[in-house]
């Protein structure tokens, strides 16, 4: 106590800003603070056991998934999704360190500096500030966020530019409530909104870089399949671009992510990837079923 009081007075004398006009050290301020601390009733403190419930609830919430769904994205199946996942993990490293550091220091304050744990008549050092320390905790977060921003920007430039070299392009058009996928061959898959489990799948071949040209005909929608990549809004008036290159055969689900009206929650997306051979067969079936129109219209007729 004696030491910290001394240090506080030293700090206040050395570093405090010019306009603090109170004398912060000296015998009379000490006695007056003793008077304050004596005057306030020492309360009873609730123990901290309820805090333990929180991590328990978190574990309970995140471990329930039977299908291997963890509190991180579903395993990415496309390189751009994988890069987003990596960025997420990268940001988590400083985030977790800062989180633990600050929460632990809060806990330390709660445990160490509560009045019932202090010696009777303890007078806290009247520190008004410390310029060097304040600059330090201005500069440290600045460096951390600049690093995070630079890292994120590199990823942004890598995966979020409209790709110029791709195998083929599919036009994805959102409407109330469903998606239309127009293939280069001219046929269109209608993925109408439904709350049933069987949605018409959007079929793509594996290991082909496919550019998606995303459009909307009425209100704003957002095309999102978490396992593939992030969202791309479908905005009436202009085209947005994203791409996918799925590395395995399978089925992935997604939904419209922008509130688009009463049927918003029915706008499910199912993406099905096939081997090139199966895909070619599927394309021939579709072409036989609906002959190609001369000019493939992205909007539904």
């Amino acid at each position: 106590m004696e030491r910290s009081t001394y240090r506080g007075c030293l700090d206040a004398a050395t570093f405090s800003f010019g306009f603090y006009q109170r004398a912060t050290c000296g015998p009379e301020s000490r006695t007056s603070w003793r008077r304050y601390t004596g005057a306030v009733k020492a309360g009873s403190f609730t123990r901290l056991w309820p805090l333990a419930i929180l991590p328990a609830a978190f574990l309970l919430g995140s471990c329930e998934a039977p299908g291997g769904i963890s509190p991180i994205f579903p395993s990415p199946v496309s390189p751009n999704g994988q890069d987003i996942y990596n960025t997420y993990i990268g940001i988590s490293i400083p985030a977790i360190i800062i989180f633990l550091g600050v929460e632990l220091s809060l806990l330390w304050v709660v445990i160490k500096y509560r009045r019932s744990k202090q010696p009777a008549g303890y007078i806290p050092p009247q520190v008004h500030g410390n310029t060097r320390l304040e600059w330090a905790w201005t500069a440290a977060p600045l460096i951390v966020v600049l690093v995070i921003a630079g890292y994120s920007f590199a990823e942004l430039q890598k995966d979020f530019q409209p790709v110029s070299s791709y195998d083929f392009e599919i036009v994805v058009s959102g409407h109330q409530f469903g998606w239309n996928y127009t293939y280069p061959q001219g046929f269109t898959i209608h993925q109408e909104g439904t709350l049933a489990a069987d949605v018409t799948p959007f079929v793509v071949p594996v290991n082909k870089l496919i550019r998606l040209r995303i459009q909307a005909v009425d209100v704003i929608h957002s095309w999102w399949v978490p396992a593939i990549s992030g969202k791309t809004d479908a905005v009436p008036g202009y085209d947005n671009f994203t791409w996918l290159k799925i590395d395995r055969v399978g089925t992935w689900r997604g939904e419209c992510a922008e509130l688009c009206g009463v049927g918003h929650s029915t706008m499910q997306i199912i993406v099905k990837s096939m081997t090139q051979y199966d895909y070619d067969t599927w394309v021939r079936q579709q072409e036989n079923a609906q002959p190609a129109t001369p000019s493939a219209s992205p909007t539904p007729s």
Partner: protein
């Protein structure tokens, strides 16, 4: 002293409480107007909370239909509008209306009648919004009301959107009136000796909030007027044929600073409460003020981070990402200064102090998830998912609501002359803390698993358990809020008598009686530092006050 049953409250002030309605309609006393603001805010909190509970029931399990999809969309919109526009902002305006003039040693606001008009526009705004429910359905496009979903072509069956737009215009006018009034009051009516460098940090926070609301209130009203032009006069600003993204720019230029309008007064309260209960002066007063203005400036340069998926140029996105992340710097300064204020302190964990530490522990999570969301690539995954819902509730519930409760427990003795019950307060805090974290901590995982927000129902059975835990926890929050209201109602007339300065505080509002007389001070106390009351106490100039009544066993 325990035998004293009557409050030493000035008769003239006490009378006003129960006078007829005409007084409430015509008073220009900033304290009564402040109370009206606060009561309006708390009633909206209850209404918005009931909406939230219905939403949680609907989502408790996959494929439920407690309400139909259209009603659900109206409920989520009403929940957002009520909580943001009618609860948090209004309540904080109220507590500032009450406290700012007293804290700077003024006798009233600079424009008392503008103050009254500004308040009465709020019920007009609220009635207009809820009026929409009786025109065939209120706003159903989320509290953001993105065009073109709000346009006549898609929302022509009711006047709900029109009522919402008018309500927000009236609200913005009210906010501009209040902000002008605050700024003028703080600049012109400070007591002798109350230099700008001696203003309490709550007053500084109110300055920054008022500047923000002045700057961004008008663009919001402009956006709403353009929506009305589209709907009623047939213009094409935001229609499918127009530029819907322009609406998002206008809305978020208001919408993001609005987040700081809802949290900066809370920051101010935290900066008032920690020094009082740690018995230390605030650490780094000047950097706290600088951080406030850093946040004010940066908050107006970040709006497009709500729009990272609409397809902007990647360099523009990079700019908004950088500015957004930079906000972590001034916020970090405030956080570290708060911790440093408590460090080496002699902290009494009263109920307000518990809420302060609850705020620090939870708001940190909201700040850190904010950095994830600011990163454009990661945001394209998390945007419009339950991760965002969790994040914004950590900021607005863990941030604003916890500070509001801290402020209420701290200033209730000043406003009513009586303490809130401590045992009920402890229960209130712990149920709220557990219920809040139980609701929103695991909500992050839903977003990471791919559950979009604003969906009326979902099919994925894997999300069922998490949603059920969230729903149960949300009812714990409701229980906690119920405890709070029981506490307020019981303590309003039966609480322990507080005395003028129950916390041994630092600022001027505790230098007058509880509740303060109509003109606040018989004699304005001298101000010699930013802790004027402490100076008076140390100099022995505080008039001998009656001993506080002993704690009932």
């Amino acid at each position: 002293m325990a035998a004293v049953q009557t409050l030493p409250r000035p008769k003239a002030y006490d009378d006003t409480f129960w006078k007829p309605i005409t007084l409430w309609l015509t008073t220009t006393d900033h304290k009564l107007i402040g109370i009206m603001y606060m009561v309006t805010g708390l009633l909206s909190f209850v209404i918005g909370g009931i909406f939230a509970l219905i939403i949680r029931l609907q989502l408790a399990q996959p494929n439920l239909s407690v309400v139909d999809h259209e009603t659900y969309n109206q409920l989520i919109s009403a929940h957002g509008v009520t909580m943001i526009f009618f609860f948090v902002t209004i309540f904080l305006t109220g507590i500032a209306n009450y406290m700012v003039p007293i804290m700077i040693g003024a006798r009233d606001m600079a424009f008392p009648r503008v103050n009254l008009l500004g308040f009465w526009l709020v019920p007009v705004s609220i009635v207009l919004y809820y009026g929409g429910f009786f025109t065939g359905g209120a706003l159903d496009a989320g509290w953001t009301g993105y065009a073109p979903l709000t346009e006549k072509a898609y929302q022509g069956h009711s006047l709900g959107v029109d009522f919402w737009a008018l309500s927000i215009i009236v609200w913005a006018i009210s906010g501009i009136m209040a902000s002008t009034n605050f700024l003028t009051t703080i600049i012109a009516l400070r007591a002798p000796g109350m230099k700008l460098t001696r203003l309490p940090l709550f007053v500084w926070a109110q300055i920054s909030t008022s500047i923000l609301l002045l700057v961004v209130g008008a663009p919001l009203a402009a956006a709403m007027i353009l929506v009305e032009f589209d709907r009623q006069l047939g213009t094409q600003f935001f229609t499918t044929q127009g530029r819907p993204v322009l609406y998002q720019h206008l809305f978020w230029f208001f919408g993001h600073p609005e987040v700081y309008i809802m949290i900066l007064p809370g920051f101010g309260m935290i900066s008032e409460i920690i020094p009082v209960f740690a018995r230390k002066p605030i650490f780094g007063y000047m950097s706290m003020v600088a951080a406030l203005f850093g946040i004010v400036f940066l908050s107006m340069t970040v709006w497009a981070h709500h729009m990272f998926t609409v397809g902007m140029n990647t360099y523009v996105e990079g700019f908004f990402m950088l500015m957004t992340m930079l906000i972590a710097v001034p916020t970090g300064i405030k956080f570290f200064n708060w911790i440093a204020t408590a460090w080496w302190g002699s902290i009494e964990f009263t109920v307000p102090m518990k809420f302060v530490f609850g705020f620090l522990a939870t708001f940190l999570i909201g700040g850190i998830t904010g950095v994830y969301l600011a990163s454009v690539p990661v945001d394209t995954q998390l945007h419009q998912s339950y991760y965002v819902v969790a994040h914004l509730h950590y900021v607005l519930f863990g941030g604003s609501v916890f500070t509001i409760f801290a402020g209420l427990y701290y200033w209730f003795p000043k406003i009513t002359g009586r303490m809130l019950n401590r045992t009920l307060g402890e229960w209130n805090f712990w149920t709220l803390f557990i219920g809040f974290n139980g609701t929103f901590l695991i909500m992050h995982t839903l977003g990471l698993e791919g559950m979009p927000r604003r969906i009326a129902t979902y099919l994925n059975p894997a999300w069922g358990t998490t949603n059920m835990i969230i729903t149960i926890s949300s009812f714990l929050i409701a229980f906690s809020v119920l405890l709070f209201f029981i506490n307020v109602i019981r303590s309003w007339h039966g609480g322990e008598i507080a005395g003028d300065d129950p916390w041994q505080a630092n600022t001027l509002e505790w230098a007058t009686t509880s509740p303060p007389p109509p003109y606040n001070f018989a004699k304005v106390p001298p101000v010699r530092s930013f802790m004027p009351l402490r100076d008076l106490r140390e100099a022995g100039e505080v008039p001998a006050e009656p001993e506080p009544a002993p704690v009932p066993a």
